[in-house]
């Protein structure tokens, strides 16, 4: 079974600085999808960015980018120019390309932005 590990329960960063959230996963599969979701205090989970394992190029979405290291099974999220609205719980998630489309989530990292 696949597992996802986020080893940083909490992180903080100064506004306008850059922060990197870590995520590692364990799988025997070669093709899969990886996601980062954000959960602000309003509670609704919002997709931040996604990566397809067969694509070597790291995904980017505006100020958000990932460092996908397939051999190391690592999928970190970099937030540039941090804003107060980035404060949230961030979850890394894995989904197999085969079979059911269920997500396997990490434990989450709570990100605080200091003004």
């Amino acid at each position: 079974a696949q597992t996802v590990t986020q080893s940083q329960p909490e992180m903080s960063v100064q506004e306008a600085e850059t922060v990197t959230l870590s995520c590692t996963y364990d799988t025997s599969e070669s093709d899969y999808y990886l996601f980062w979701y954000k959960q602000p205090p309003s509670r609704q989970m919002i997709l931040v960015i996604r990566q397809e394992a067969y694509k070597q190029q790291n995904a980017t979405e505006n100020r958000f980018s990932v460092n996908f290291q397939k051999a190391a099974k690592s999928f970190s999220l970099k937030i540039s120019d941090s804003q107060l609205g980035d404060a949230a719980m961030y979850f890394c998630a894995y989904r197999s390309r085969q079979g059911a489309q269920k997500l396997v989530f990490g434990q989450g990292t709570r990100l605080t932005i200091n003004p």
């Binding site: 999808y33 489309q101 434990q107």
Partner: protein
């Protein structure tokens, strides 16, 4: 935009009660999911459904059942509520298996307390 609506934002019930959590999505999605979110554990899948009247167990189905009589609605049932089922419950939906890189869309969550 996809809208996933959970019937209650907060719910308080008593031990032994039968509890129904309702979820409705408006985008004709084939897949629907129920997750439980606990601090330090991330989100864990309880049940999912890929079609009307179809259901599959997730990672923690014990003490729960589900119903999907219509495509847009997916209900989670706590047959006899216990205090260890106090948690945040999140519903999600996604498009069918032919489009695997599509993300799941989440509701706002129901914070359930069992007294």
């Amino acid at each position: 935009d996809v809208k996933v609506t959970q019937s209650s934002r907060y719910l308080v019930k008593r031990t032994g009660e039968k509890v129904f959590l309702e979820c409705v999505q408006d985008m004709d999605h084939e897949n629907m999911f129920w997750y439980r979110q606990d601090p330090g554990l991330g989100l864990r899948l309880i049940y999912f459904s890929y079609d009307v009247k179809m259901k599959e167990k997730g990672d923690i189905p014990e003490g729960y059942s589900v119903s999907r009589e219509k495509k847009e609605r997916f209900s989670l049932i706590l047959e006899s509520a216990s205090t260890n089922q106090t948690s945040m419950y999140l519903c999600a939906s996604s498009r069918g298996t032919a489009i695997r890189n599509q993300p799941q869309h989440f509701g706002d969550g129901t914070r359930l307390s069992i007294l």
